[in-house]
Subunit: 447 residues, 2 copies
Amino acid sequence: MKSVTIVGGGLVGSLWAVYLSREGYKVKVFEKRTDMRNTVMSAGKSINLATSYRGWKALDAMGLGDEVRTIAKPMYGRTMHLPDGAKNFQKYGQGDQAIYSVSRGGINVKMLEAAAKNAELYFNEDCIGVDLTNNICTFKNSVTGNVTEVKSDLIFATDGAFSAVRYNAMQKLDRFNYSQNYIEDGYKEILLPANADGSYKMEDETLHIWPRGRFMLIALPNQDGSFTCTLFMPVDGHEYSFKKLNNKEAINKFFAETFPDFYEMMPDVADKWDDYPLSSLAIIRCFPWHHNNTALMGDAAHATVPFFGQGMNCGFEDCTVMWELMKKHNHNWPEILKEYEVLRKPNGDAVQDLSLQNYLVMRDKVADPVYLLHRKVEARISTLYPDKYFPLYTMVSFTDISYHTALTKGNEQERMVSEFISDHGITDTTPVDVIDGYIKLKFGDKL
Amino acid sequence: MKSVTIVGGGLVGSLWAVYLSREGYKVKVFEKRTDMRNTVMSAGKSINLATSYRGWKALDAMGLGDEVRTIAKPMYGRTMHLPDGAKNFQKYGQGDQAIYSVSRGGINVKMLEAAAKNAELYFNEDCIGVDLTNNICTFKNSVTGNVTEVKSDLIFATDGAFSAVRYNAMQKLDRFNYSQNYIEDGYKEILLPANADGSYKMEDETLHIWPRGRFMLIALPNQDGSFTCTLFMPVDGHEYSFKKLNNKEAINKFFAETFPDFYEMMPDVADKWDDYPLSSLAIIRCFPWHHNNTALMGDAAHATVPFFGQGMNCGFEDCTVMWELMKKHNHNWPEILKEYEVLRKPNGDAVQDLSLQNYLVMRDKVADPVYLLHRKVEARISTLYPDKYFPLYTMVSFTDISYHTALTKGNEQERMVSEFISDHGITDTTPVDVIDGYIKLKFGDKL
């Protein structure tokens, strides 16, 4: 029975421990933080997570989906809040397709509980070195100060965007490519509490967006009637920036003028301003993703900005893919790891590109009539050819079409729809049956 | 008197120590390697360096140029070696303009000797940590094992492409952007010895190139009659790669077929193949270049691939620029460092882009008739308007026009020359006086 060290007991690490334990591996998980199962969770720097198809697929394969569903709130679309207070609902998919809001802490505890059934979990263990040649990880316990060396047959680094395994070992390898690029914008969470009776202050089965061009506010429902809201905007150097929101007066003025309906729901936003820190957002790329018997998974391999809600889903899909390769190659790890990185790297890159692209969509385009007309036409094509045409959002969130294919195909479709609209002079007043007629004329049975 | 810690006693670090000492700073230089002044130099992984205008300017400002000139060999142009053995000389500039081949070790020793006059130098001192808030560097001596903490007013990291200061401290800062990208190609040095009588086996006042499309061999003259030659080619995955040159037979066949004139001069190339290691080439970018009182200079800030011979020159120019800012801001370091990184970062990026671009020129275009026609026309424009038109190579190597301007202007000029050639149907048989006529017609006194 092969022994495995998993560095990082976050979402991907603990789920991957479940997979490996079920396959008969002897798994030890080492987590830097304290044991979340014993801690009162703070929303912290979480950004609520949106579980979608790929996430559920990876959970359901291990029978963990239903447990997570107990703490998930469906969101069937986005509710856009205009500056004048008007609202507009845009469905994410067809029928009851939804993405699901879960708290990072909540789902992490569920994963740790599942992992603990068959794997050994260690906490407060900081990875201070990795010997990639002999598969030895060195951990320093932040409580006792004890240093432990752990040798195993395989090492998986699921220790997040600032992976210690990557930093302490992989990055020092010759010909290891690496980049960390921060976007200009930071983010800050704001908790919009429930009403006194525990009810939600807004519609709860939706993701709320206040798109304002260069910045945006979003809100995801929690189970207790509150919303976790996040303001994304430039840190500095722009008309609107976090730097300028440096006193209560400025904060109140900004919210009253820019998000009046939100301000009405939370007039004490300035008092709560410092409850959460200003945080940064980075895209981290690297390659290769393995060396000898050590592999990077999840954010350690491909940390992204959160705007497509795919960070966790992509990390969970790493587990699905690795598991399928494990079966395909009959546990021959050199073969598995080689194919894993070749298969998966283009998708890591693509999910990052998609995430950056979707920031523009969320903060700007969802309020742009041209964009909305595109979506309307695309929805018609997809309704007429439900098995053949998938809008980009659908490919990413409601299928497991590879991210790379989704990105390529999505961009092609965008050009095609754009051309179609201009060729037929379609506007937002063109009746749906006319649009449908043009679509059938153009595509017939060719799609 | 302000105290300064310089981490890295390579070319830039020791020159910068001279500048700072002359300005009255109390300077300590800590170098990881042993003291080169006491060591027999190995050509090692050097790639001979080419000193050009910016390098001389920085040296001459401290009166060090003449000392370096004693170990420099001028190269007035490139001598291209075709597969059939034919040769072709292309001048680098006008008149006696030349770039100068020097050995890395030779010039480093000269710099250390100059620095030692006023600064304190420490060797075998490995930087294991930097406290950017309190300006404290921690060094571990690799011989004695002693750990020393050094506090100073200013810290300069001139510790090269894999800077310990950057890695141990800067890279951990929030919002620090960083990338290390290896190119597909590696390099290997080959020493072509002098004839028995000490004479050169080829013309000595020139840079030799064997351009072969996807790869190339180059040779730079040393003072002792030998040439330091370097083969640049893909490590793997191509028709010609280092991976395939894994036995003497393959090496001999490759040289005999690909570089027949070189093989004739060095028929024992296969026996010498393992004298130097296969090495890698990377572009390293980062930003910001300073934090509090610590700044990155030279390769630590902007390591590049060697194809424009500008790595050292750019690092030396960092000294010139910082020195000018020191005078401009009257030793007000917060102001100096802020302006330094804003001024210099676009030039660090540009020298990297220029270096990558020049690899294509050297390995491929110098043998391309279209490229050569462009250069011929450009040489005519530059001859007719000597004070107004500078070819890209001239701007980079024989002026201190900023790298960023050179890159932008060079690309504009390339488009302009291309258009000019096609508009007038110029070919390589068009007489020079006809070309001159077209040039005067087109530009008149407008240039």
